[in-house]
Symmetry: C3
Subunit: 345 residues, 3 copies
């Protein structure tokens, strides 16, 4: 169901979200905004009680909120248990239709004769589809994308402009791959002969599950022998590096600038904060959260929240403390010695 | 004013920089180099007194320097208050003319019929300009760039090869966007329903002010509801990630590999060192400097220099100290207990 | 020597690797796998004794191993001193021939009239070769690559899809440049006039030695005055940033997400772990290894292993310790005072 953004009524929205409407079902809205910024033709949402005072002053047409706040709402309300989820679903409904591409192959695209294209496929100018590649129904390939030989892309997936897939990459259904991301480049594998490096051919592939999103300029390398595996519903932000033979469990989310070294396994429902680094050959349990810029060098067998680092200080204060860090083992020994001496007196 | 690099005289340079020449105004030079490396057809510069001994031995045609060092200069001199600034301006004057592109649209480019192109626009092979995009006078779009629907690019901006702008991105005047950068990709926004992720459409845009430079392979994401805003004269290095709804104040500079999480506001005249990470929803005051690889998890209300981390050690020493870091709170408590015991004896 | 992957015999392999075969030289194999996974038509390898128990149960056709383990091998063996090196060389031998491109210039490529092309060059669709560029024999340029004016690329080098080289970049022989990497973008150089930034033209270039590999989405910036120099046999992973005027010595390896600031010199045979950051203007000796996510702010004059950071903890434990880090200098002073008091009593 797609609406023109100007003819969506509150009743339509309530039905789409499964929300309970209090107010004028015929009122039309054209967008979504914050409680503070929303005008009388926009919907707002309140995802937690910290925004109660913004609710009181909102000029929105209506507000998505939890049923417990209906009485506090000065305008029409759409009540549902998870208003943030309601906002997500509404945002897609109200998104401008800029993303609607006309099906067909642009004459400036290069498509191998034996490529298999599903129904309603859209291939932009200068896209290259190499031999044997298969695109499911409704796949959109943006301008300048390169789809390597033998790749398979599931139905309804969208590759934004200038995405590169190396040969044999498998992408599930409904994937969103953002511009500049590269999937299937060689893993970083070399053997050393004592003087120089010998390349190890990266003979594995990359398999992405369904509903995966990959951010701009992110790299996911192909496996050395086996495949690099990204589970279903895994969300990967921009500037991420995923090395060869990494496995990411379903529903995990990786924020920007994360780096994961070779052969590490990340569980299901994990969340890695921005800039987190995982060493190679680790196993991270389901449900692990790691805070931003933490370096993880050992496996984590239990769910929970994990961190490293020192916190930020004024540089002068930091310099004094960082010097002491280098003396920390010595300090610990001296402290223990003092304790012994005190106990002996 | 553009010179052939072989016919620039010291008098020309002095006039262009507003420098005071002592020497032969008719001498011709063809380039700029360091005090140590410059030959007799090159200009050198001395930006601080640490290079006084190099000045004594220089073979340069002339030296850009502060007036106080004229007497120490063995060759012709061009004196001005900020010689490093003089070097910058001279470097542009002497830059080889490789960047001069012939105006016009390459036959291999794809330009929407309703795109609006200013005077002397240059569009390279395989560039794609989507519908409704507007390019100001003198804009250069390199090979393979993709300019999304409705983008506006200010006059005299240059997009090097393989830059991607999503729909609706606004770029100011005189921007320099380096290859592989991606502006306007979706912010990383999802709502969780307890089991899986629901995408939040990213309905905002990205607005870059005038005189912005963006490094290669850098990502700047579009806003969720409002726009991501990059101020005037903001300089962003390579491999940077700027998440949705970030705001960067005028004249700030971000070194390579910086990551800024969603909705954080960075003030004016800030400098973020390489690899710095800023958490989301922070406010960083004007004039803040953050040293390399610092993680900032709280707002910084005062200008100054800020840091985190431990300093580098030999691995064996580091291992001993890092183990103690995990005992630090325990050590602090034992130290306090000892102090009490001592005071009681 | 290239074999069809289905007609390679153990005798062929033994000869190619210089290994000593015990077993049936006529047996044919079609691939390589781990000791655990290998089937009877595959070769496995044992690179260290931790895998002895996997060796006992392997179903592989034959195993590459050190001569000392021949007696432990339940199947045919190929003995050589460095079995991991043997695996590397075998992997290349067995790699699928997907990489074999037909020589010639795709009609969708744009090649300047004065470009100089060696024998058997392969140029993909939408590749752009600008004026004066020179490609050695057997160079492969993937789809969408842009080779700037005056670049020189040595024989047998391969640029995967969507690589960008700015003008004047020099690449040695047998280079492998992965998709999305950008070589020769402007270094991050600006002079400040007290209010705003003035760009410093980056007049140097980039020179890559022979046998260099560069990962996907990696940036190597051109020099300000002199060139950025990458030595022979240097291996650079994905998402790396190398700033202007950096020099990397021969045979060094940089893992993913490394960032190196301007003018730093890295020695020969160095290994930088994932996410390592090097400040600018440092000198790192030959043979230095730096562990993951270490920030190096001072030169390292001696070979060895270096580290920084705190190790990962459960977040609650980390919070307690991180707070104490800010008191560390104070703790050190109090500890010293206590020691004095004890000694005086």
């Amino acid at each position: 169901m797609k609406h023109d953004s100007l003819c969506l009524t509150l009743a339509d929205i309530a039905e789409h979200l499964g929300a309970t409407l209090e107010g004028d079902g015929k009122r039309r809205v054209r967008g979504v905004a914050t409680l503070k910024d929303a005008g009388p033709d926009q919907i707002a949402f309140m995802s937690n009680r910290a925004y109660l005072k913004d609710l009181a002053g909102t000029r929105a047409a209506a507000v998505l909120l939890h049923p417990q706040y209906i009485a506090d709402c000065p305008v029409d309300s759409l009540a549902l248990d998870n208003p943030y989820l309601g906002y997500a679903d509404l945002s897609l409904l109200l998104a401008p239709q800029l993303g609607i591409d006309e099906p067909g192959i642009h004459p400036g695209a290069t498509v191998a004769k034996d490529a298999v294209l599903g129904k309603s496929v859209c291939i932009g100018p200068n896209a290259v589809i190499e031999r044997g590649a298969e695109l499911g129904d409704g796949v959109v390939v943006g301008p300048g994308c390169v789809i390597g030989a033998g790749c398979k892309i599931g139905a309804s997936s969208r590759l934004h402009a200038n995405v590169t897939l190396y040969h044999g990459v498998i992408v599930g259904k409904r994937a969103i791959l953002h511009s500049g991301c590269v999937i299937g480049g060689d893993g970083f594998g070399f053997a050393h002969d004592g003087e120089k490096w010998h390349k190890i051919a990266q003979l594995g592939g990359v398999v992405l599950g369904d509903d995966v999103e990959v951010g701009s300029c992110t790299s996911i390398d192909r496996g050395a022998l086996d495949d690099t595996l990204i589970g279903n519903d895994v969300k990967i932000d921009s500037q991420v590096q995923i090395a060869h033979n990494v496995r990411i469990g379903d529903h995990s989310a990786l924020a920007g600038c994360v780096g994961i070294a070779g052969s590490t396994k990340v569980g299901r429902h994990c969340m890695l904060g921005g800039g987190v680094g995982l060493s190679g050959h680790l196993t991270i349990a389901d449900g692990v959260q790691v805070t931003g810029m933490t370096l993880v060098t050992n496996s984590i067998p239990e769910p929970g929240v994990y961190s490293s680092g020192t916190g930020t200080m004024a540089n002068a204060q930091w310099r004094r403390n960082a010097v002491r860090f280098k003396q920390l083992d010595d300090m610990a020994r001296r402290l223990k010695r003092l304790e012994k001496e005190i106990n002996n007196t």
